[in-house]
């Protein structure tokens, strides 16, 4: 059950939204799909779902096309939330579930389970327009997963939620993965991606700039972060060759370095200068990688 995109290109007139994108999204994993606004994420999702046809290239799932006959295997949470404002929560979820090939009785059972899980069972007979935005989003999430899809596409699932609800939904996503669902999800929040995804892809202007397993991406990125907290002025560290970024903090500084060797050099330089409270060599964050890869081309 692997989703494969091969040299997929989508053009709208003269504008190229997705450019020669090749991806392999492994099954039973959470795949992170990152990119700045307008990078082509939603267009890619729409092509995967068959809502748009690609200009060139192939998209296959389990070796075949994704058609409407498979819609019961696919769950989709669009970035633009959409539910019938005038319909009651249960009525609406039953309807959407039936369209995904679910039986009514089973749908009602699942709806109760999910509402219970998201701690909102009292909303069952409320109209969607009466709910807060965050709660509407929970309902939307339920509509995407109710029919136990094999492939789940989540476009910005956590935007607009408070931290408690983000945790609740994250837990649900992880549980779904463990139950065997392949999940593709896009987000602007790097820490969510870092926490959830094993593999990822960063899209920039429609083409992938980073693609692979998270730990390998970090390793191959090479650069690392050093955090130093000391009693003396650390500004001199900026001039050490190999330090690519210097960011003063309240009681210390954060450095980005080209390789681990530079860290040893910094460590030596610090000796004898005074008391060092903290010296920390860290893996680069996804945030650093994203800014480096996507931000670089803006310069």
């Amino acid at each position: 059950m692997m989703l494969r995109l091969e040299k997929v290109t989508k053009k709208f007139g003269s504008f190229t939204a997705v450019d020669d994108l090749s991806l392999e999204i492994p099954e039973k994993q959470i795949f992170g799909f990152l990119g700045a606004n307008g990078a082509g994420k939603t267009t890619t999702f729409r092509m995967v779902l068959g809502l748009l046809d690609q200009t060139r290239g192939e998209i296959s799932w389990n070796g075949g096309d994704i058609g409407y006959d498979q819609s019961h295997l696919i769950g989709y949470l669009p970035e633009e939330r959409g539910l019938y404002p005038k319909l009651k929560v249960q009525e609406q979820l039953v309807y959407l579930a039936k369209l995904r090939g679910m039986k009514k009785a089973e749908a009602i059972q699942q709806i109760e389970r999910w509402l219970e899980r998201f701690k909102v069972p009292e909303y069952k007979n409320k109209k969607v327009e009466e709910l807060s935005k965050g709660n509407q989003q929970k309902i939307q999430f339920i509509s995407a997963v109710l029919h136990k899809p094999k492939l789940l596409i989540l476009d910005e699932p956590f935007s607009g939620l408070d931290p408690v609800n983000v945790e609740m939904l994250k837990k649900a996503v992880i549980d779904l993965k463990e139950a065997g669902t392949s999940i593709v999800f896009s987000s602007h929040r790097m820490e969510h991606v870092e926490e959830l995804c094993e593999s990822l892809c960063i899209l920039h202007h429609g083409s992938p700039v980073v693609h692979g397993k998270l730990n390998e991406i970090k390793k191959s990125f090479g650069k690392k972060n050093v955090r130093v907290i000391a009693d003396f002025d650390l500004a001199f560290l900026e001039s050490i060759p190999g330090v690519t970024k210097y960011k003063p903090l309240g009681d210390g500084c954060e450095l980005q370095i080209e390789s681990e060797k530079i860290a040893q050099r910094i460590f030596k330089e610090l000796q004898g200068k005074g008391f060092v409270r903290k010296f920390d060599l860290e893996e680069p964050t996804l945030n650093d990688i994203f800014i480096e890869k996507v931000g670089a081309s803006y310069e």
């Binding site: 709208f12 729409r46 779902l49 068959g50 748009l52 046809d53």
Partner: protein, 417 residues
């Protein structure tokens, strides 16, 4: 259950429960009952039993008798010879003993002349019967003076016998025509209002799904084409429900007015004696007309992203149906004019105007078949284009209120492989 049927059912269920549906149905049923019982309603309000008494002040006993004789045919009016003076009679009118007083005198050349006194003279309907009666008395008097035989006068007064006969054997008789005109008139109204009402409903349905953005979830589960037709059939089912209720109400209304024994308003429209062929044509043209306009409405609805814009984009479609309706109204008077014949083949007018023609005239079957063929072809074509526009249109957001978006939508849905 099939997904298409699920969507049809959902559309239907949603609408049938809505307040607007309930209200329009109840109001129309009330209207039908009112119309079928119009006779009784009018009678309740008019004071039939109260006869109008008119005092007559005259010296000529002969005239009074002639007058009374003429007026005796009118149920609502009685004359009474008043023996007192004119002033006394006027007081009696003021006091309400009489409705009015008429003084008949001998004028020039001995002819009768009258003055009519009433509290109000706004309503000539009250004085007219008296005036007409007096006119007749005068003619009688003059001719008698001239020595003409009363039998000849009788002959002069009877209306001429004037009958319309169509030479073509299959042509409708004048009587039939009058009857079908009423029926066609009502049917045209029905068709016109339902197309506007249900067309708007469909585009509203589509635009609502788009503006609430639930559309993206829907198109990822079910193909836009079956979505579009599910909407069209769901609303059609709703229309059938509404019509079933209305027809039942109409039937009950007719039965009820039949037991009353009066010729009701429905009879006036020729509803009591309907030609089954006309009914079949009405149904066929109704269904085809609905499909044509419904497909157009769904296509247009898929282009807008806000409900408010739907009305704007629907305007050209409404114009079409209004134009068709106006032509049909014109055609009721001259159903055999060339203009009507030509426009009955234009698919957007066919449901109204071809129906008018088959209702009012005897049309060769091939003409009807041809127009139905053209109509069915256009529906198919529109459905094909509509399905493609719909597919692209539902993903299109932004300010879109022009028909240029048709092109954009078609580009979006283009198969590129």
């Amino acid at each position: 259950m099939n997904k298409f049927l699920i969507m049809v059912a959902q559309t239907y269920k949603n609408r049938v429960k809505s307040k607007s549906f309930l209200i329009t149905t109840i109001v129309t049923v009330a209207l039908i009952f009112a119309l079928s019982n119009l006779q009784s309603i009018i009678e309740t309000f008019s004071d039939v039993d109260e006869e109008k008494k008119v005092a007559v002040v005259t010296d000529n006993e002969g005239w009074f008798q002639s007058l009374e004789q003429v007026v005796s045919m009118n149920d609502n009016l009685t004359l009474e010879k008043y023996d007192g003076s004119l002033e006394e009679a006027q007081t009696a009118v003021e006091e309400g003993d009489f409705q009015s007083v008429v003084e008949v005198e001998q004028g020039e050349e001995g002819l009768p002349e009258a003055t009519y006194y009433a509290n109000k003279i706004a309503n000539t309907g009250e004085s007219d019967p008296v005036r007409q009666a007096l006119q007749q008395v005068k003619v009688q008097y003059v001719t008698e003076q001239a020595g003409v035989d009363p039998a000849i006068i009788q002959q002069m007064n009877t209306p001429v016998n004037f009958e319309l006969v169509a030479l073509e054997e299959s042509a409708k008789t004048a009587e039939e025509l009058n009857q079908t005109r009423g029926l066609v008139y009502v049917m045209l109204f029905f068709l016109y209002f339902s197309v506007i009402m249900y067309g708007q409903m469909i585009s509203t349905e589509v635009a609502t799904e788009k503006s609430s953005r639930v559309m993206e979830i829907l198109v990822s589960s079910v193909s836009p084409v079956s979505q579009m037709f599910a909407k069209i059939f769901g609303i059609a089912l709703l229309g059938l429900t509404q019509f079933a209720i209305l027809i039942l109400a109409g039937y009950l209304g007719i039965q009820q007015s039949k037991t009353l024994g009066d010729g009701s308003m429905l009879e006036f429209f020729g509803f009591n004696d309907i030609n089954p062929g006309t009914i079949i044509y009405a149904v066929v043209f109704f269904i085809l007309g609905y499909l044509l306009y419904a497909t157009l409405a769904a296509t247009l609805g898929s282009l807008v992203s806000r409900l408010e814009d739907a009305q704007q984009l629907l305007a050209p479609m409404i114009m079409l149906i209004v134009a068709g309706f106006l032509i049909a109204m014109f055609g009721l008077g001259v159903p055999d004019s060339t203009f009507i014949t030509v426009s009955s083949y234009f698919p957007f007018f066919t449901p109204l105007i071809m129906f008018l023609r088959v209702g009012m005239l005897e049309i060769p079957i091939w003409e009807v078949a041809l127009s139905i063929g053209i109509l069915a072809g256009s529906i198919l074509l529109l459905a094909l284009i509509g399905a493609r526009v719909y597919r692209g249109g539902v993903l299109m957001y932004g300010k879109s209120t022009s028909l240029k978006d048709l092109k954009t939508a078609l580009q979006l849905s283009k198969k590129e492989k």
